[in-house]
Amino acid sequence: MFRFEMESRKAQYTRLRECSIFVGTWNVNGQPPPPSLSTWLSCDPEPPILYAIGFQELDLSKEAFLFSDSPREAEWERAVVTSTHPGAKYRTLALIRLVGIQLIVLIQTDHYGFVKDVAYDTCGTGILGKMGNKGGVAIRIRLYDTTLCFVNSHLAAHQDEVQRRNQDFRDITDRINFRKPPQTIKEHDQVYWLGDLNYRLDRLTHEEVKRLLILKEMPNILRYDQLGMEQSSGRVFEGYTENEITFQPTYKYDLNTDKFDSSEKARAPAWCDRILYRGKGMHQMVYRSHMEYRMSDHKPVSALFRSEIAVIDETKQKKVQEEVFKLMDKLENEILPQVTVDQTEVLFGLVKFKEPVAREIIVANTGQVPVEFNFVKKINEESYCKEWLRITPNCGSIEPGEKCDIRFEVNLEQHLGKFDDILVLHLENGKDIFISVSGDCLRSCFTTSIAVLCRCSLPILLMSPEQLRLAESQQSLVLYSVPRELWLMVDYLYRNGLKNKDLFESTALHDDIIKIRDWLDNGSLNPILDNVSAVAECLLLFLQHTKDPVVPYYQTDKCAMCANFAMCQSMVLQLPDLHRNVFLYICMFLKELLKHSTENGTDVKMLATIFGNIMLRNPKDKKDRPQVARGKVTFLQFFLDNDISGLIMPKQ
């Protein structure tokens, strides 16, 4: 994209400079060079900036065909170099030869420093389709900031080989490869194609050509030029231009004369030697032959071009480059996913135990592309949010212009005081948004420790901060042997629930649970909600969520391994006093329940299973091995099956 944008702005930072380019071609019929080529190469008043001179049949010896060396190469190079325009000094940029096909490119020394990327390649199309007796050679250069490609080719000979010549052209076009961009001939800004293309005249006999030449009826001869016909019907040299030919055919002459072939074969004259071009800003000034060279059966041909060569202004280029960078930055940043979030601070206010609170944020896709979002983990954290928060959805996609509601639900099962979290909302391939979540946890007896509750003179929400602080630091007196709230629930069940069927097995309404929680936490002059199953469920919840479990975590496994009642008793004696009180208090209550098992449907196994797992509970993330789970039930079962009155001690 950068290249494309720079290319399309080229006019803004380049100026065009006119450069004269001299292109020549000559089939030299294996002859050594004459003393000078000046009347060919230096016939124009002004020295050209660049020469591209091609020869064909430079060396017809077998050696040249079989081996790559040829003494002729250097001889002709010297002939060219010494015949350049006296008005300037030249330097050879490149010389390439394939058997007899040689191309040499020279440049004025003043401009030598502005040539880059010089490369060449050859392509044989002769015997077996690849030998070098026919084919092409090419040199390409970057002159200032325009790429130029010069091709010298010698295409298949003979009157009837038109298709073969077309094929040779295509082969050269396809097979020449400079290995670095621009790689192929066609990719260059300007292409100069010269050579003995070998196209003949159709239909006209030797005599007819001569007669028309004398009558100066050039157009009537050129009508039958094979190259002209093939090109106009699109079979060869597509996109190339050739200027009008005003000189007489360059082939075939008797050696050392200006007379057309007088041998027995009497080949009809033809314009075998041609120069074509393709590209922008190329202006051919002249197109001519040089009759005075008589040593070959061909005459040299030359063309002078005034070509527009782009020269980059580096200061302007830098400026344009910066603009392009800015544009690219803009485009790239515009297609980045963009969203707006209606709030980045989600406040939950007071949240109560077991009463989930939800908030929604709206994420709107304000960008130009679909957005994929997800919440990602922060460094050193296991999940993308704390365990008391649930985010739905936690990932998804939003189309441009669309919105997505994301729901945050806080459900507190432990006392957190002030709670907060920072969530990272990540956009795939884009930015991250931090969302703060915070709130206050309302205290509840359900999530307070047994030791604190036993020191509370009032329902927990009526306690002053100072009273609470004293209770929590265990500096105040123990007022109750079991938490008052526990007693309230058990007492109610004792009075109303002993004969209730399916006690602890039916589910209560959530609203009723909330009412009982508030009644316990706030205190009231009214009696407790008269709903046995709700109170029973609250009792279970209470035992399940007390800040410390009834049997401390570190003693759970030992209790579960007790093999007899004596061991169980000794474990219970090791519990903290208040915890032991709660444990035995619950056991006494359960034993009372069992007395009415016919009415309430309970049995030892069932109660031991329910309460064993609650009073000997695990930390949140720990799962029991099966024998531990069974051991907990067995532990409680011992207390339900045996007399425990000896364990009950008077309140201290």
Binding site: M1, F2, D329, V376, K378
Partner: protein
């Protein structure tokens, strides 16, 4: 066309505006080489400090920005610098930028003082103005050039994980690929 991508982390000390991490890209030229900067502009508020830490990882360059008219932002620098040093690799180029140098009249932190802090901690330092654009460009360029030099003289190993430099243009993501190659000779 862009063969190198640098990850840059920008932190603006105590800046109330960024809530999260803004992501953007920029192309600049260093020694004739086009380089794409992936810029992670992180929230500089103290409360986000624990979260923004993860964005320092794998940064080739870090720009720490304070406000010359608010001393509190300058005072936060040493804690941000600690994070930057701890979480980036030793070759990460850290640039200290005193922003809002256009508000000379409200200056609360002297140039000399910040310069000294930078020297003591081996940081590059410049005062700039995001508003007028003065020196901001230079800070980016200078940082990118230093990184480029680190690569050239081998101090920054492109093959190391979290070098913050990618050989190919890439999409931002939390995991930068380690698919890097030593690049060709430097034209500078």
């Amino acid at each position: 066309m862009i063969s190198l991508t640098y990850k840059f982390t920008v932190v603006m000390a105590d800046c109330p505006h960024t809530i999260g991490v803004e992501f953007g890209t920029r192309i600049i030229e260093v020694c004739g080489q086009k380089i794409k900067l992936q810029i992670w502009d992180t929230a500089g508020q103290e409360r986000f400090r624990a979260v923004t830490r993860s964005y320092y990882r794998g940064a080739a360059g870090a720009l720490m920005v304070y406000d010359i008219t608010r001393r509190s932002t300058y005072n936060h620098l040493s804690s941000w610098l600690t994070d930057t040093r701890n979480l980036t690799n030793p070759s990460t180029v850290i640039f200290l930028i005193g922003n809002k140098c256009d508000l000379e009249g409200q200056r609360d932190v002297t140039y000399e003082e910040a310069k000294q802090f930078a020297e003591e901690n081996g940081l590059m330092f410049v005062e700039a103005s995001a508003k007028t654009g003065s020196n901001v460009e230079d800070a980016f360029l200078e940082t990118a050039t230093r990184i480029y030099q680190s690569i050239q003289d081998g101090r920054l190993d492109l093959n190391a994980a979290e070098s913050g430099v990618q050989h190919k243009p890439s999409q931002p993501g939390r995991n930068l690929s380690n698919d890097l190659h030593q690049k060709d000779n430097c034209p500078c």
